[in-house]
Amino acid sequence: MSDLKQDTINYTVRLGDDALILGHRISEWVSNGPFLEEDIALGNVSLDFIGRARMFYTYAADLSGEGKTEDHFAYMRNEREFQNYLINELPRGDFAYTIARQLFVDTYNHYFLTALTKSSDENLAAIAAKAVKETKYHLRRSTDWTLRLGDGTEESHKRMQAGIDDVWGYTKELFEHDELEQRLIDAGIAVDATRFKDQWLADIAAVIKEATLEMPDGEWAVRGGREGYHTENLGHILTELQYLHRCYPNSEW
């Protein structure tokens, strides 16, 4: 197998990991949403992410051959093998915390997926073309909620600010890449997120300002997801997510 192909498999699995772990996190809101419509909205957003993960994993499985399927990547790997960005595995927190994460991630995905539609890998480009439409909806919703909570009551303002402050340091690694991704960027396959970092920051700053919130200060950053170094939260997610499949391998509905 060529190095570039192996790199592409790894990269595709990473993108699948980001989508699966965040999708699972958001799904925890189902039946816990603040009201019925929002509960449904969160369920829908979660499904979009999980669907995205399935497309990435399926493509990675096709590339690897060896009889692998999407299930191998989702269910049969341990924490150290997952390479999602840490922001996706953070606990769901309160609703404001969830919205803060979504604002950062949805804005990021908007630029990331738009760029990925131009990938020289036509399958990645096709998945991105599908996902970017959904992200438009996600972003509108997380922006609306940030404004509503930030410019809402004293309590909602306080919580929204706390959410933004607490998640902020996890956004740093979204704009860093390792050698593997650099090789794929050079080959026109992967996205170079540093290119849209300024736009991302400007968008976030504009929403935060309109929501009467303060930009987080502090230079703290937590990183390690792409190397498989995780917070303790990932293990708990996998315990729940993989339990059934590992207890009853290959069972079908």
Binding site: E37, I40, L47, D48, N123, A126, A129, K130, Y137, R140
Partner: protein, 179 residues
């Protein structure tokens, strides 16, 4: 004002593909496969069914999913397989084609009319149907045709729909999002 249905170039080409196909029998057979969430609508009218071909003994069906996480897609795939098997076809393959991405523009005029009949407003019934954002109000109520309606939630009973309510007849209804 009476609206005259027109076809986009893309739609026209897709219809030509079917008209010129050598296996119209298979296309007709698959007209019996419906969207499980909207059982009045065939996969063809949804624009999900992209191609049907006989390759030697094998039948190859190409579909494009609506939303990436839509649980109905798995059911549709199974229903296609069951429909083919029921006709005694046992060599087949259902291929998922992601690009170009599915758009509501691929729904047929008949499909849009069936949606209305089923109580779902199609994307065309938004006040500014060229705009792809879900409007805050003014989508025509599929029950009483009033435009005194408002958006209740951008996300409805399934990923593809938003929830509206009509202020004239009081009925809630789904709006099929324009993507």
């Amino acid at each position: 004002m009476e609206r005259i249905p027109t076809l986009s170039e893309e739609q026209y080409q897709h219809q030509l593909l079917r008209i010129n196909s050598e296996c119209e029998d298979l296309w007709s057979l698959l007209d019996n496969v419906k969207d499980p969430e909207i059982p009045v609508l065939s996969l063809w009218d949804m624009g999900i069914l992209r191609d049907v071909q006989r390759q030697g003994e094998k039948v190859v069906v190409t579909i494009t999913p609506t939303y990436s996480g839509c649980p109905a897609m798995d059911v549709m795939r199974e229903d296609i397989e069951l429909a083919l098997q029921a006709e005694g076809i046992d060599q087949f393959q259902v291929v998922t084609k992601l690009a170009p991405a599915w758009t509501t523009d691929w729904m047929t005029e008949k499909g849009r009319e069936q949606l209305r009949g089923y109580g779902i407003a199609p994307p065309d019934d938004a006040p500014d149907s060229a705009n792809r954002e879900t409007p805050a109000d003014g989508v025509l109520c599929p029950h009483c045709k009033s435009d005194h309606t408002r958006r209740v939630s951008e996300f409805g009973s399934t990923a593809c729909k938003a929830l509206f309510q009509c202020d004239d007849c009081g009925e809630p209804f789904d709006y099929f999002k324009h993507i």
